[in-house]
């Protein structure tokens, strides 16, 4: 899908967070990394929803070009989440995709405050990816 507007980018970001939460829920147990990432994801979704409500003002509704959601799919490959280690490895890739998406989205976003939020989310994904990679190593 062409992400050609402020709302399209934020809607895709919210859907991305929701998809990732749903994926992580399959392996969430009390106090494991996935349950923490899910809590974190719910807060991130709320921040994005707030940005969608508060960040859009008439004078910055300028067209966005050259940005497509197809490059940021987080759909799991069949058989990639059969055990916890597989899921951890897949999650590392998902976080990597999210880092890419949020960085690219921050570059495209014409609203400075929202662009900064997207960059912060990318930074968080970087930390999340490092935590997941540590879990894979353990």
């Amino acid at each position: 899908m062409d992400l050609g507007s402020f709302g399209a980018i934020l809607r895709f970001a919210i859907e991305l967070e929701e998809q990732v939460i749903a994926l992580y829920e399959t392996s969430a147990r009390e106090d494991n990394i996935f349950s923490r990432l899910i809590q974190d994801g719910k807060k991130r979704t709320q921040r994005l929803e707030r940005a969608r409500r508060e960040g859009v003002v008439e004078m910055v509704l300028e067209p966005i070009t050259g940005f497509d959601s197809d490059a940021y799919s987080v759909k799991p490959v069949a058989g990639s989440n059969e055990n916890e280690l597989d899921l951890l490895r897949m999650a590392v890739m998902i976080e990597d995709t999210m880092i890419r998406f949020y960085r690219d989205a921050a570059d495209k976003m014409p609203v400075l405050g929202v662009a900064r939020l997207l960059q912060r989310l990318a930074d968080e994904n970087k930390r999340r990816k490092a935590q997941l990679a540590d879990e894979v190593g353990n």
Binding site: F6, G7, R53, E58, L61, E62, P63
Partner: protein, 484 residues
């Protein structure tokens, strides 16, 4: 299926109009009727005014801090129902969901500013203006005010006035647009949820006769209007003839001046957003692009190339960048202007007449349209088209651009794109328009500032929003005291 007839909101109740006369509202994606708007009778206007008048005394005695609390509650409900309100506006008007969200944001912003009434209603005083004599100015609410509002911003425009009036202690009546009343009606549902006392806020549907009944009613203290220039002049003169204060925000024909030193790449999106945002149906929309000197050819090429890529479709589809115009009638009027432009010899370099939107074959669509070789005397360069039509004029220099702006009877907005501070200073100093943009395509003021207008774009002195609104909705009284 029979479409529902909308109800008035009077004295805290949703009431059916007794009028047998109605107008249809239409879905801009199908052209089909959606709802019936009653043409409320003068008696119903009287009932609304009577309710507002009866509520006034108790409301003005309500402490201003308590009135401000109502604004905070109103904001809270609006935030909760944000997406619902934006979706209703997008569906009824046709604007994109992002544009509707932007409108709702601005609507809430006005409530936030109005919540500052405790500070804004402070007067001033001087001790000992003569021996033992003190003098003060107090600000007081006036009474019953009303607003007559347009289709293009059914939530934001009523709230450029209502929250300020009510926070100052007045009571209020809105006569919404008969073309797009649903968004305004939802605001009254929201205000009901926010628990305003009965009679403080009222809404009455209708058209010309309803408006005239408000304008001539002896218990209405003032009127705010946003819409076309002929109607605005009628409202202003009728209100004045009946001793009321009035503010009429009217038509526009806004110019965007592109200097050769402005970066084309950065400016094109701002121009497109200004001209084609809200499908050109806003009073701050750019209409004429005055390209100065050598920038003309490269700018023209980039504008056509980028405008041709704008995705047109249903406003609720988040991938869409421009929705339909509001009705088939509006579509026909805009198409008439395009024909007129061709007839007058302007060169149609991007033709939006045949835009096809597969999902909505009967929608009121006009694609981005660009005329080149427009001359200042042409109808399309002088009249407000209120649609997604851009006219490009090649001008020799800055002075010629300013002369063209001055020749246009309207003075709502004007923008300059430049990297030169001297041109920017000259532009804001000399151009007679109420809202000036420098490297901004849509100079829409924040709610803490008034939405201004000059020449044929505004009649009155105080505007909606900001400090002007607090002044419009209050009387100032001088009190001189001696106790010694």
């Amino acid at each position: 299926m029979e479409s529902a007839t909308l109800r008035n909101y009077i004295d805290g109740q949703w009431v059916a109009s007794s009028s047998g006369e109605t107008l249809d509202t239409h879905d801009p994606l199908t052209g089909k009727p959606v709802a019936k708007v009653p043409l409320s009778t003068p008696n119903e206007v009287h009932a609304a005014v009577a309710a507002a008048k009866a509520a006034f005394q108790e409301w003005r005695e309500t402490p201003v801090l308590t009135r401000a609390q109502h604004m905070f509650r109103l904001k809270e409900v609006m935030e909760t129902r944000f997406e619902e309100l934006a979706g209703t506006i997008s569906k009824e008007h046709g604007k994109t969901i992002d544009e509707a969200r932007g409108e709702v944001r601005r609507t809430i912003e006005n409530v936030e500013v109005a919540a500052g009434a405790p500070r804004m209603m402070m007067g001033y005083n001087t001790e000992d203006v003569a021996a033992g004599i003190d003098e003060e100015v107090v600000l007081q609410p006036v009474g019953v005010f009303c607003a007559v509002t347009p289709f293009n911003f059914p939530a934001m425009v009523p709230f450029m006035f209502l929250p300020y009036a009510v926070a100052c202690g007045n009571t209020y009546i809105v006569k919404p647009s008969e073309i797009c009343p649903a968004g305004t009606a939802m605001l009254f549902d929201i205000m009901e949820e926010a628990d305003f006392p009965p009679g403080v806020v009222n809404m009455i549907h209708g058209a010309g006769e309803t408006v005239d009944a408000l304008l001539t009613h002896p218990d209405v203290a003032g009127v705010s209007f946003v819409g076309s220039t002929p109607v605005g002049k009628h409202i202003y003169s009728t209100a004045a003839a009946h001793g009321k204060r009035a503010q009429s925000q009217m038509g526009a024909k806004n110019c965007l001046v592109m200097m050769p030193d402005a970066p084309v790449d950065r400016t094109v999106p701002a121009i497109l957003s200004s001209v084609f945002g809200n499908a050109g149906q806003r009073c701050l929309a750019g209409s004429l692009v005055l390209a100065v000197g050598d920038v003309y050819e490269p700018l023209k090429a980039r504008l056509v190339e980028a405008a041709a890529r704008i995705k047109v479709g249903g406003g609720l589809d988040e991938a869409v960048q421009m929705g339909p115009v509001v009705t088939h009638r509006a579509q026909e009027r805009i198409l008439g202007y395009i024909e007129k432009g061709i007839e007058e010899g302007a060169e149609l370099i991007l033709d939006g007449r045949q835009v096809a939107v597969e999902e909505h074959p009967d929608g009121c669509f006009i694609g981005p349209t660009i005329f080149d070789k427009v001359r200042p005397e042409m109808v399309i360069a002088r009249e407000e088209i209120f649609g997604p039509v851009m006219g490009i004029l090649h001008v020799a220099d800055f002075e010629e651009a300013l002369a063209i702006i001055e020749s246009i009877p309207y003075g709502n907005a004007a923008s300059l794109f430049t990297s030169n501070g001297k041109w920017a200073r000259e532009f804001k100093y000399r151009v007679r328009a109420g809202n000036i943009g420098v490297n901004i395509g849509v100079p829409a003021p924040l709610s803490t500032y008034p939405l201004c207008g000059l020449k044929e774009s505004f009649h009155g002195d105080l505007h909606g929003q900001g400090l002007d609104a607090f002044q419009f909705f209050t009387d100032r009284k001088v009190v001189i005291t001696r106790w010694s």
